[in-house]
Structures are given as C-alpha cells and as structure tokens.
Point group: C2
Chain length 333, copies 2
C-alpha cells in the first residue's frame, strides 16, 4: 500500500507558511509481529501542534524535520500482525498527517463506530472534548449556578466546553468572532455571547453581558492577548482561570508583551491553572460516563469544519490561526 | 492628649510624592463606653497600602482624602473605658499613621511583650510573617526537599519566608538587590542568592544558581515585571507560584505590559495563586504554633529598618519603593 504523508521542512517561529510542509509518497511495509497496517479516514489538526514545530522541547518533543508529523487519526485496519486487531477494525492513533501507516499496535485504541461516528473520536469524544472537560471540571471546578466565560466559544474545545458547562448546570458567556460563530455559540446554549471583533472594549462588553448572569466566576483561556487582559479585568474576586492555550500568541514573530493588569491576580486573589490534557487521564472514565449521559439526553451536539484530501492538511492546520473553523477542524481522506 | 497624624491630600497614580501627605495635630477625646485611648509606639508601613491611595476599591476600601490613614500599629493603653483593657496594656490595632487614638476596642488585640518585643507583632509575628507563611504553606504547599525562589528576599515578607521555608526543610534561592541585601539573605539561610541588580539576564542567572538545588519548584512573587518573566522562564514543569504582590508595578504612571512568556503557564502547566493574607486566618493557629517552635529552636531571626518620629512616616513608606529597607520597615514614635 502506498501512502502520502506530510513532513515538516524546517522548524520555525512566526506565521505558518505553506513552504514549511511537503508531501511525499512512501511504500508501506507489511506489518511485522505486533504491528498493524491502517488506512486513515480522518485526521485531526490542533493548535497545540504549533508548539511542536518550533524545534524546542516543551511538554512534548518537537516534530522532526524530514519526518511525517504526528497527530490524532482514525482509520481502519488493512492488515494485522498483532493480537486483538483484525482487518476492518476501526482504530484511533497518533499516526496522523498521513494516509496510512504500518506500525506497532501499542498505544492504538479500537473505537466503536456504532456508538459514534468515527470522526467524533477526534473531537467531542476524544482529546478535544476531554480537554474542555478537564479544564471545566478539574481545573476550575465549576459549580452549578456559576458563570463561565468560554473564550473561542465556536472553536473545537470552546464549543464542547459551552455544552459541558451548561450540562453541569452553570451559566456560560461565550466570546467568538463574527456573526456565524456567535450564532453557533447561542445554538450551543450560551446564555450570552460577545462578538469580540465587533466591540472596541472587550472588557466592558463582557462585563455588561455578564451582568444579568451575576458576573464572571471563571474563565477558560484559549486565546491570550486582549482576551486575557479583559478576563483579568472582568472576572470577580476569587475567580479561577483554566489556561488551556493562547492561540493568539503562537504565531508571533517575537514574543509580545502580556496584559498590563497582572496585578489583578493579587488584588482579586485569582487562581490561574495551566494544564495539558494528557496529565489528567485519571478523570477519563468520569468524562466518558458524563459524556454518554449528556449525549443520550440530547445535550451535546457537534459541528465540524472539514477539509478533504491529505494535500489539504497544511491548509486545515493554517486555518486554525485565521479562525477558519467552526467546531472541530478535521481532514477527511 | 494631643496626637499628630498623617493624612492623604489626594488620590494618585504614579510615583509617591511627599506632597500627597500632610501632618495635622488633633486633640484626642476621652474614651466613651467601649472605647480606649492608646499611645502608639511603633507604626507599620507596607506596600499594600499603595493600592489604597489610588482611590479605587480593590480588596479594601481606598483611604479617604483628608482623613488619617490606616495601618498596623502597636502601643499602650492610656485610658480605658472598655472591658478587658487596662492602662498600660500593650495592644495591636489598625489605627496607624498617628501618634495616638481614641476609638472602639473592637478588633484591637492585646499582645504579650514578655514573649516578643512589641514591634515583632508588626513583623515576623504579625501579618508580615503570616503572609510569608500562608504563601509558602497554603498557596504553594512547599514540600521538604523542594526549592523555593523567594523574590525580594531581604524585604519584610521575603526575609521571613526564607527562614520559614528553610525551617520546613526546603531549599531556598533568594533574589535581592545589592551587596548588603544579598549578604542578609545568606545570613538568613538562603542556599543560593542572586543579586538582580548585578546581572544582565535574571532568568539565566537564576537557572544557573538553581542548578545545584535541582531547579526551581516554586516561586514567591513579591516583585512583578522582569522577576515574573524570569520566574516563568526558570521554573520547572508543574511549578507553583504564590502571587503576593508586584511592588515593581505599584508606582507606574500608566499600566506597563506584562511578561512576554505567559504561554509558559500552559507549556509548563503552572499554577499561579494570588492571595491576600486576611482571607486565610484559618491557618493562624498553625502559624503561631510553627513560629513559636522555630523561634525556640533559634531558626528565626529578624531585622528591621527603623525611621523615627511620626513626621518620618511618609519617608518610611516611600522608602519601600526604592528598596530602602532591609527586613521590616517600621516607624518608631
């Protein structure tokens, strides 16, 4: 079986450019003992991948130049030489950015496509949903009746988070950019939505919109920059912030200054908690159980933005930073 | 009895200037039922008071223009009309910035000057020591063998914190400015000391100095600005920061940008916890008990910087922002 794959041509800072990616076709070997061969059907692209393109070790190793990149992927087993895997089985792996692969079955998870469509395992039922869940439930400890500000509310993590917070009995103020995205946030159940592109003073707009909700108790940080500044300003005393990502900052050519109002951390006695989902698999079974209940009760819907074809994977990835996606950004092969 | 007191002439931002203070003499009335008259012996000046001079409510109400300011003070009862207080009793109150006062005895605490000198109740055995204790023990949860970076190590909170952390079995890297202050940090038991005024790259200097200590597990934030930037850079993954204050920022004419490396909160999964000591009196008895044991074991020493006379109180206060104090800044009357 032949497979086309996307490789990184160089490490870089600043905006992502097409020339940092190249597509190559390889011949996949037959699986040796303990290996399987898989044809991917869906690939995930996620903001955290940007960090692996810089070439400096952060919480994960950088991508290797000249090697296929990694990322979430679901597909079907073509050939198996590993116990427990048969031809036709649907599996989830980190062997993304490629059409197919032959590799060890270790760490590869079988998924049930009768329960959910295969691509959901890359979104709401996968690390994306789990990220929203960990942030809200474990980092913030959001309580019934409290108000959460979900930034990037129409994004993959944000759209899951809005629904999870509502299902937990909390109120949600969401921010997003543009009419289509704000409408989507409302559709997901957000009690108030602010279009950050349509306001001059984000902090004032959020304060105003949060008034009928009793103010902001907690903030889910996906954006950074002006959003963090506004959150420090608008949040109530003893507020909690789950710091999941700062997508506005990832493509800076050089590091830009942070908010001018960090002294609010003292004045308001705030807690800021950075986290990475992979540190928190201790709540995975809670997540699966809560998510199943919410889905059965019709409380969770999903929407994806889909690019088609392996050659479009860099475009899908670059689109994350221009706000091209509503819900989860996926590549369909 | 006559008393001279320091009043605020206006609310202000930017550097503190002498003209923002005026001294007035008042006649103290005789105490009514429930009141006492007290002659203060020692006054405390503290960085947090700066926030009360801006005129905006933060976690405490602003000082009133034309009224005597408030602050920690210890003194002796001159006349009592309140149960439980007799002439000659030593008491601690928030009626500082003045030579004497007649007011309700409510909230006034009797202190034992046989146990400790009166002024210690404004420092290591008072809110200053308690602040260091709460930050290290409750916010950070510092463990034996871990390494704490104490910023402003020669200051009031910092010098208490170095000794408390050592007494808890942790290692301490302290930062301070100039030879005398760094020598004082060493005297207090700091395992490594960096003179931030003598290095170009604070982050690199701290990393290097922390190497023999196994790196930085936790950071006690008193400074802000370049110190916070360096701490985000130098701290280890899963590091905890107790955010007690940011003295470098309090006198800015306009808010200055924060660190450029806040994405480290995500990448290193950091916890930043702002706090105010008055929210944490639940650990007060632990503090008293630990402090007594450490003092009896000779593990805690104190040093004060003393200005003399009520008219010098504004100078003492302004000195906090120019680094004029080693240990606790006090005014002796």
């Amino acid at each position: 079986m032949k497979s086309r794959e996307i490789r990184l041509t160089q490490h870089f800072t600043g905006p992502v450019k097409p020339e940092y990616f190249e597509m190559t076709e390889v011949d996949l070997p037959d699986p040796q003992a303990g290996q399987i061969q898989v044809k991917n059907a869906w690939l995930s692209v996620d903001p955290y991948m940007r960090g692996r393109m810089i070439g400096i070790k952060t919480y994960v190793d950088p991508f290797q130049v000249g090697q296929p990149m990694e990322g979430g992927a679901v597909g079907q087993v073509v050939k198996s030489n590993a116990e427990g895997f048969s031809e036709g089985d649907w599996v989830m792996s980190m062997n993304g950015w490629r059409e197919g692969w032959t590799a060890s079955a270790e760490g590869v998870t079988k998924i049930d496509t009768n329960l959910l469509p295969a691509e959901a395992y890359l979104g709401i039922a996968g690390l994306t949903g789990m990220t929203a869940y960990v942030g809200i439930k474990k980092m913030i400890g959001l309580k019934e009746g409290e108000t959460l500000w979900m930034s990037a509310g129409a994004g993959a993590v944000g759209s899951a988070g809005i629904q999870f917070a509502k299902a937990m009995g909390a109120k949600v103020l969401a921010t997003a950019g543009g009419d289509e995205k704000t409408a989507f946030c409302k559709e997901l159940g957000a009690d108030a939505v602010v279009d950050y592109k349509a306001v001059d003073d984000l902090s004032a707009a959020v304060r105003e919109a949060a008034k009928p909700l009793g103010g902001i108790d907690a903030y889910f940080e996906n954006v950074g920059g002006d959003h963090l500044q506004a959150a420090l300003d608008a949040i109530k005393a003893h507020g909690r912030m789950a710091v999941c990502g700062m997508i506005a900052r990832y493509n800076d050519n050089e590091p830009l200054p942070g908010p001018t109002n960090l002294t609010q951390i003292v004045a308001k006695k705030l807690t800021l908690q950075g986290f990475i989902v992979s540190d928190h698999f201790d709540v995975y079974s809670d997540f699966v159980s809560d998510l199943s209940n919410w889905m059965m009760a019709g409380k969770v819907k999903t929407r994806d933005t889909v690019f088609e074809g392996i050659d479009k994977t860099p475009d899908a990835f670059m689109g994350l930073f221009t706000g091209a996606n509503i819900g989860k950004m996926l590549v369909k092969l």
